[in-house]
């Protein structure tokens, strides 16, 4: 049993009369990467701000390494690295100077730790340049460097892959995996894009309208939301619809989609043949995790 680094219980946040969060609970253990997925406006950033003490919660508790964020802020936040919304960088300073400012905020950071971190995020060549000249991707990397400089055991990253090219995304993913598994860091990553996190997360929490609607691992999620479906090429699609009723949907005159288990497929084709329908081909339809996710959260309706 890995140690729990982040434990949120029943977080609620009310701004005016509007409930932004309605009882969010989540846990992050050491060495575990938790994806925090939800559409825009679902409350991801607000949750992260509550966890970090940037906003006051209406009710609920946040414990980091066993310390309550409200009562023991300094102890709780000491071992946390975070990027909120976007990397917070001083544009008129160089990358190195930005890291130096962070270094001054913690005790016991050795001077060569900065070089070490710069190497980890791959910014060695440009670290002396002004941040104003950095691309969005480089800023993200520098943000991660800032967050891991003091060797935290909890890393909270808000949309860390924003603005990165596919190659960059892969690099960051590998970096996060390495951090989680080699340095035993618990990581909470928020994103509105499930497929980006598909390969890194041990667990995903899906948030919608301020509520967690699913908390499971990726495999289960896939199994649950991705039903199998098949495309049948037939001679008369309309006739099939009359026979199978709700089980199928018409794509065009000669193609229909049916959602059934693989085991039930032979009996259906047999039934169609008995009714004089010619089935030419049966193909399995692949749907992406993304589509499945969209179906699951039912589109993006900001309340």
């Amino acid at each position: 049993m890995e140690k729990i680094v982040l434990n949120c219980r029943n977080l609620c946040k009310k701004i005016g009369k509007k409930d932004i969060l309605k009882g969010i609970s989540l846990e992050v253990r050491r060495g575990e990467i938790v994806g925090f997925i939800g559409p825009n406006g679902a409350g991801k950033t607000t949750t992260i701000k509550l966890i970090l003490g940037l906003q006051k919660m209406t009710s609920g508790t946040v414990e980091i390494n066993g310390y309550d964020i409200k009562k023991n802020f300094v102890e709780a936040i000491e071992k946390v690295g975070a990027i909120v919304e976007s990397p917070d960088l001083y544009m008129y300073l160089s990358g190195y100077q930005n890291l130096k400012i962070v270094k001054e905020c913690y005790k016991n950071i050795t001077p060569n730790r900065i070089d070490e971190v710069v190497k980890i995020v791959g910014l060695s060549n440009r670290i002396k340049d002004k941040v104003a000249k950095y691309s969005l991707g480089m800023r993200q990397r520098l943000g991660i460097a800032q967050a891991i400089l003091h060797k935290p055991n909890l890393l909270i990253l808000d949309e860390p892959t924003n603005g990165l090219d596919p190659e960059g995304i892969i690099e960051i993913r590998n970096l996060l995996k390495k951090l989680a598994h080699e340095e035993n860091i618990g990581i909470l990553i928020s994103s509105h894009n499930l497929s980006e996190l598909e390969n890194v997360c041990d667990k995903v929490c899906i948030i919608k309208n301020g509520k967690i609607i699913e908390e499971t691992n990726i495999e289960n999620l896939k199994k649950e939301i991705v039903e199998e479906s098949y495309i049948l090429e037939v001679n008369e699609a309309k006739k099939v619809k009359q026979i199978l009723k709700e089980k199928c949907e018409i794509i065009d005159d000669e193609h229909i989609r049916i959602r059934v288990d693989k085991l039930n497929l032979p009996s259906i084709t047999k039934e169609l043949e008995n009714n004089g329908i010619l089935v030419y081909t049966v193909t399995k339809e692949e749907i992406t995790l993304e589509e499945a996710f969209l179906r699951k959260i039912g589109g993006n309706n900001i309340e």
Binding site: L52, L54, I77, V80, V84, E85, Y92, I101, E104, C105
Partner: protein, 486 residues
């Protein structure tokens, strides 16, 4: 905490704007010092000498046209005028003899008139010899160039006059007459005092800085003596004026006794000493820009989140920013002092810094001789409450509004509002305003403030209360602030 302040200073000094501000200030100091006050005054050209020469020529021409036989009265009159001019012109302009002759012009003219009269009108050898003798006795010390003996003679004459008057007073019964004589004696005694001072301090009649000081001292002392004796019955304005005269008298007295040199109008010392009047607006501008942006900018750029997820309580983060602004203020003040010292020194010479500033202290009731650097330090201390309050107000607006331009504009308005509220004895409610209380230079050396309702203790209280309230609100607000989503 030290590290946080270090971080804040690091961030400030990495910005270009701070260097631009410092360069502007340097330029203003250099230009202002180089121009000095000559731009306002211009040199004063003395035309007395030329006018006298012209008069001499005119009189000579007039005299030639008059026949002494036919028109003796006019002849005597013109001759007397001419003799007087010749006498004045016989000594160089500004010499002590010339000054003395000018001082006793009326008496000398009378003597000359008598001489001429006895020569041309009524020929009377006996009287002429008598008056000639008087004339020569008067001019003897002048010819010998011995001003001390001249002054001694003056003193003897005045002492004799006093004795005569004292005798007269005994013989007079009329009260009114007695008072007049008493006043005359008073005046003679005062003249005697000045003459004695002239002798003991070795100040001749010659035009010199010390003679000017003595003249000023004489005028001020006379004004002071004219005040009624019961200080307690003065109203506030009379007290103010009395104190002002008293201050001048005491300071001039000290300068004369201690031989303090008089400096030229433009000199390095006085420029340094008044630098915080000249450059106050610049100091205010810089601290408003720094204090107005130090918090709000972090909010605007979102970098405040970076600071707030560091292991420090929020009040420490805010305090470090406040202290960093105060450090900038101190650096700025030191910068201005050092630069003004150097620039003034290079343009007008460094030696004037050795000349002390003479200041009468009403609390200690004695004159103090203060080194210019100590004087500047005292002035800075007296101005510091104002600087700190402007800084805190701007800082508070910056923290609460999160808007840099609004905080800079409001901070400036608060500072300028001190000029809008005109201090007046009829507006006593203004004593509760911060802006009327935050400048402590008016209380320095026990001076009376310009209006009666201002009190030192009360001002300290108003400033302290305002500071505590402003800081309390700012820190509580910052502690509970939710960092909004962008």
């Amino acid at each position: 905490m030290n590290k946080l302040i270090k971080n804040e200073l690091f961030k400030i000094f990495k910005k270009k704007v701070i260097y631009i501000l410092f360069i502007i200030i340097s330029l203003v100091i250099v230009v202002n010092t180089a121009i000095g006050t000559s731009i306002y005054g211009g040199t004063i050209v003395d035309h007395t000498q030329e006018a006298r020469k012209q008069k001499q020529v005119e009189l000579m021409n007039q005299l030639k046209q008059i026949e002494p036989e036919t028109n003796v009265d006019d002849y005597v009159e013109i001759k007397t005028e001419l003799d007087m001019e010749n006498l004045i012109m016989s000594y160089p302009y500004g010499s002590w003899q010339e000054r003395v002759i000018t001082k006793y012009e009326n008496e000398l003219k009378e003597i000359l008139r008598q001489i001429n009269m006895y020569t041309y009108k009524i020929e009377n050898k006996e009287e002429l010899a008598k008056i000639q003798n008087k004339y020569n006795t008067f001019l003897q010390p002048l010819k010998e160039d011995n001003w001390k003996s001249f002054v001694s003679k003056e003193i003897t004459i005045i002492e004799q006059n006093i004795k005569d008057l004292e005798k007269e007073i005994v013989n007079t019964d009329d009260e009114e007459q007695k008072n007049i004589i008493k006043a005359q004696i008073q005046q003679y005694k005062f003249d005697l005092e000045i003459l004695t001072l002239r002798l003991s301090e070795n100040i001749s009649y010659e035009t010199s800085d010390r003679n000017t000081l003595l003249k000023e001292y004489e005028d001020n002392k006379q004004t002071l003596n004219a005040y009624p004796k019961d200080y307690g019955k003065y109203n506030y304005n009379e007290k103010l004026q009395y104190n002002k005269t008293l201050e001048s008298v005491k300071e001039l007295e000290y300068k004369i006794h201690n031989n303090i040199p008089t400096l030229e109008t433009d000199n390095a010392r006085d420029m340094l000493n008044s630098s915080f009047e000249f450059y106050e607006i610049l100091i205010i501008l810089v601290i408003i820009i720094i204090a107005g942006s130090i918090v709000s900018e972090e909010f605007n750029k979102g970098t405040i989140k970076l600071l707030l997820v560091k292991p420090f309580m929020r009040w420490k983060i805010l305090l470090s920013k406040f202290l960093a602004s105060v450090i900038i203020l101190i650096i700025l003040i030191l910068f201005i002092i050092i630069l003004q010292t150097l620039v003034g020194g290079f343009i007008y010479g460094f030696d004037t810094y050795k000349v002390p500033i003479i200041q009468y202290n009403f609390d200690m009731q004695k004159v103090q001789s203060i080194n210019v650097f100590i004087s500047v330090f005292i002035l800075v201390l007296a101005k510091l409450p104002m600087y700190l309050l402007v800084l805190s107000i701007t800082f508070a607006i910056s923290t609460i509004s999160c808007n840099t331009s609004i905080s800079i504009i409001l901070g400036m308005l608060v500072y300028l509002s001190k000029n809008i509220i005109y201090l007046n004895d009829n507006l006593e409610f203004t004593k509760y305003l911060l802006t009327t209380n935050w400048d402590f230079t008016r209380y320095l050396f026990g001076k009376l403030p310009e209006v009666s309702f201002l009190k030192f203790d009360f001002s300290i209280m108003i400033c302290l209360i305002s500071f505590i309230v402003i800081m309390f609100i700012t820190f509580i607000y910052f502690k509970n602030k939710d960092i909004k989503n962008i």
